[in-house]
Symmetry: C2
Subunit: 425 residues, 2 copies
């Protein structure tokens, strides 16, 4: 199956930030075989981009997509109260069916906003995997691991089972210990050992709050990063979510080990965790990807929004308008996201990479006049400007229509599931 | 002319944050005459909201709409460089026709995003006034005043002329001295005197950057606010844009005088000015409205975006998730905006107020499930969810269509004007 896209303004997101103003792209069986200035080629399907922008699909490097039903269910409340009085009681009522319905709803939102890959950490992950397979999204799945002894072991075993059953080109499974404060050293070390045996990675929340940072200093005498490093948890295959309170020394350690960070700017503000030192991390050589986190702390699954916020926020806190520019921000949401997920087959529009890509219509009045397309992508684009979303060479979303799932059914089953776990609005 | 809207979820934005889940609203000759639970009434036009949310039109309390053509023309650069090498050279080429074309483009974006009123400060204001009259927007216009002696006087005279010619129900004209560093004391005092005679207000940039704050301390021995107060510039009719570096003492002074602040979160981050202490200001009793600032530092004219950012940002910098909640944020963009502009005839859906209002379609997949409509308005709404925009009881935007202007012509004349002042993209 050959797909040819023509008349596109191609933003490759490669290391030189190459753009091709009148570009063509040819993909065969889901893999890009040629990208360049306008060319002709035989194909089974032709897509005239009509001047729209073609760029890599966005990579959401940290979310809990099974939480999507909790959108707006507990806003503007203090973290402890948020978790104990709102989130945990709702999560007690989850099961695989609910997580499936919730995940599928969140995935509809993601593909409509140009996200083609996401890294997830949550419960009842089979529900999320089933939804990803159905809608055709690329996913990095971590069954959330908490607790010690048998409890921790049980969840590790479940992860191994998920890996055996689902690890594939489109679905990656990794070990996902929740955090240093919810997993004892014994469980964390087991996760490292098992991930090594499976040849997969780790995904963990790290240094999200000041409390986590200070508690770790008090209990272990070192920062959360140093503690994690002492347990062997940091490697090129480790994905660290948040990193709000990382120090320069932490950044050096992370850069040396090759671990990556997933910056979640909206969530970190919404839960009053703070603002991650993204510029510092990047300057130290840390790969920094971009994540939405779950809707309960966002309340969207929109990488376009998170790109805008990430770029603005670094300028504001560094008091430097050059702290993070539009081109760097796009790479965070694409190429750097791919690297953070340990994948060299997505994130850039180049031959040999998967045909995960989106067409963005920049003709809306809110983007006019176009003085700089790349700036507009980061600072002026609406999610609704995403016209076409393609994963593995297959169109999954086009002009407001879902091609792989029935949106009516998704909404109906989400409503039913919501009523079960949350009740009257 | 009577307009009846039925089957609406009405968010009144009154002091009690009253909502009416199945509400009706009746307006006569552009003024709201009745709001309440479902009722029937005779009307010339009926609008079935079909469950959509009806709320006051948003009030953009600080912008430079004549800059809209500069969207993305100078992003990610340092402030001094931004002004001197990018913005000022472009502004040298402005004239009334260019500002008209630029303003009309920006107003199209605003009404499509639910903004019905804006406070402007810029040059060639007749172009902006003409555009506002054409599209039917409510505007508070300030011809930007800079310089001393004859130069300052000339601009004040021009403002008086604008006032005489255009002051009306829909167009307000006020004195707009640019800032304390661009207007000597003599000019500022003249502005106070003239505004007093006309019975209109002042609109001025204040304490936007650390440099402005520190320079003022060095030159005048007091903060910018205290300096402005010493010149008699602060009153119930004064609108202070930015206020990023205000101290608690400044806030006390502002609250006592009844002046209002326009918080511009996106712009303050983008230009690396910092983050205004909105919670502190509100706690001190200062009216805080919301502004987009010009596109060159935003890059949108979207109050929905600025609401999201304002609410998130205060949580993040205060490290308190309750710092600014969704309901307070909506009032900033509506009722508090009206008060900041010295108007008690807009900003709330209540009898006697102007029928400036919007219908927001919250049925999109990105808003599901709806656990809290108000939260969704602040944290999950896209500009494209705005289905209908009504000003003075007249529909100016409906389902993606502009009712008072021809969008094709707006775009064409914007493109021509852009080519003249900016050149090849």
């Amino acid at each position: 199956m050959k797909l040819l896209i023509q008349n596109a303004y191609i933003v490759t997101a490669d290391e030189k930030n190459t753009v091709i103003p009148d570009g063509s792209l040819l993909a065969e069986d889901g893999v890009i075989v040629r990208v360049g200035e306008h060319f002709e080629a035989e194909a089974d399907k032709m897509l005239d981009a009509g001047g729209m922008t073609l760029m890599p699909g966005l990579i959401n490097a940290h979310t809990h997509i099974g939480m999507t039903l909790m959108r707006g269910a507990a806003d503007d409340v203090e973290l402890h109260h948020w978790l104990n009085d709102h989130i945990f009681p709702i999560e007690d009522r989850l099961d695989t069916e609910v997580v499936y319905a919730s995940s599928l709803l969140g995935m509809c939102e993601m593909i409509a906003g140009g996200v083609t890959t996401f890294a997830d950490m949550y419960f009842f992950s089979e529900g999320t995997i089933r939804a990803a397979q159905e809608i055709g999204m690329r996913a990095d799945i971590g069954r959330c691991i908490v607790g010690d002894g048998e409890e921790g072991q049980k969840r590790i075993d479940e992860t191994v089972e998920l890996f055996r059953r689902y690890q594939s080109d489109r679905i990656h499974v990794r070990l996902a210990p929740h955090a240093i404060y919810s997993c004892p050293a014994e469980t964390l070390k087991k996760c490292v050992s098992v991930s090594g045996k499976l040849g997969t990675g780790l995904h963990i929340h790290l240094d999200e709050t000041k409390k986590e940072h200070e508690d770790c200093l008090r209990e272990h005498g070192v920062t959360p990063t140093a503690y994690l490093h002492s347990l062997g948890c940091l490697s090129r295959q480790t994905l660290l979510a948040h990193g709000v309170w990382l120090t320069e020394e932490d950044a050096d350690v992370i850069a040396e080990t090759g671990a990556a960070a997933a910056h979640c700017p909206t969530s970190n503000l919404k839960l009053a965790s703070g603002i991650a030192p993204v510029r510092m991390l990047r300057e130290k050589g840390v790969t920094v990807a971009l994540g939405s986190d779950g809707v309960a702390s966002n309340n969207r699954q929109s990488l376009f929004r998170d790109m805008t916020l990430a770029a603005l926020l670094q300028k504001g806190v560094c008091l430097d308008a050059t702290a993070l520019n539009a081109r760097e921000t796009i790479r965070m949401a694409t190429a750097d996201g791919a690297r953070a997920l340990g994948r060299d087959d997505i994130g850039v529009l180049a031959p040999g990479r998967k045909a995960d890509m989106i067409l963005v219509d920049q003709s809306g009045i809110h983007q006019q006049p176009i003085n700089d397309r790349i700036s507009n992508l980061v600072y002026a684009t609406e999610n609704t400007d995403v016209a076409v979303t393609i994963i593995d060479g297959r169109i999954v979303f086009e002009k407001g229509e879902y091609r792989t799932v029935d949106a009516e059914r998704v909404l109906a089953q989400a409503e039913t599931a919501r009523d079960r776990i949350i009740g009257g609005a």
